[in-house]
Symmetry: C2
Subunit: 128 residues, 2 copies
DNA sequence: TTCCTTGCAAATCGTTTGCATAATG
DNA sequence: CATTATGCAAACGATTTGCAAGGAA
């Protein structure tokens, strides 16, 4: 279980940190491969899973069938454009209280929530 | 594109309506097959997809890797138990306003949101 | 008769995993 | 040296799809 350093993991994490969008495993693979041609898709998946288990990155399941990854683990929300598929960070007031609202009268323990907003992004909304 | 009646579709819809949980395609298949042994998994998938496109049912992507289906299309929220995997309806005050909160200052159009709450359900929370 | 729907099986897609080898501590 | 990590390819599970045959309008 003792973690050992690996060039591959380092590059995957670094790549994720320099991106403001939320790349999929395949995009990570394609990009890291330019600098490190020998890396395999399996290694990318293994490291993305490991990093998210360590809490260093977040796995985003926005409902488009593909997992997205985010190196920004601070609490924030995402918007998914139904037109172009883009996943964008939202700058918005906290809505943490919805967990309490949901918990009122619920027979169980609510630990948290997952929310994403959808619609058309700035670009796709513009007239053409 | 003109829709034609089919016994299979009718039974799938009926089955979904009599369930308060949120069955997966496979569960629908297993159950409908008891009354209609010849039905195929492909047909179940095709009809679930068709019905959800028609807006007669809702496809739930709660992040467990399997799609769940709900015949109740009225706006409501779901809770997913991280212990037993169960998906339950939540009776709670509307949180529709979070769409407005998210839209404030956002350059684009927000059409809606998807939220699910997670934690441990009543049964799984109980001491044992 | 038209053409929507089905059953079946093969195909797809994203992701995971087994295994022998390479790299790390 | 003891272990973790890798590359590769095969395996997986959920869902989709092509096609010839069946059923509804």
């Amino acid at each position: 279980m003792a973690l050992k350093h690996s060039k591959q993991r380092e590059m995957i994490k670094a790549f994720l940190m320099e991106r403001k969008d939320h790349p999929t495993a395949d995009v990570v693979y394609m990009n890291v491969r330019q600098k490190y041609p020998n890396i395999s898709l399996g290694t990318v998946y293994r490291n993305l899973t490991l990093l998210s288990e360590l809490g260093e990155i977040t796995r985003l399941r926005v409902g488009d069938g593909v997992d997205h990854f985010d190196a920004d683990t601070s609490p924030h929300y995402h918007f998914v454009c139904t037109e172009c598929g883009q996943v964008i960070d939202l700058e918005m007031e906290s809505i943490e209280k919805i967990t309490d609202i949901a918990g009122a009268g619920f027979d169980g323990r609510i630990a948290g929530h997952v929310t994403y907003f959808y619609g058309t992004c700035g670009n796709c909304t513009k007239p053409n």
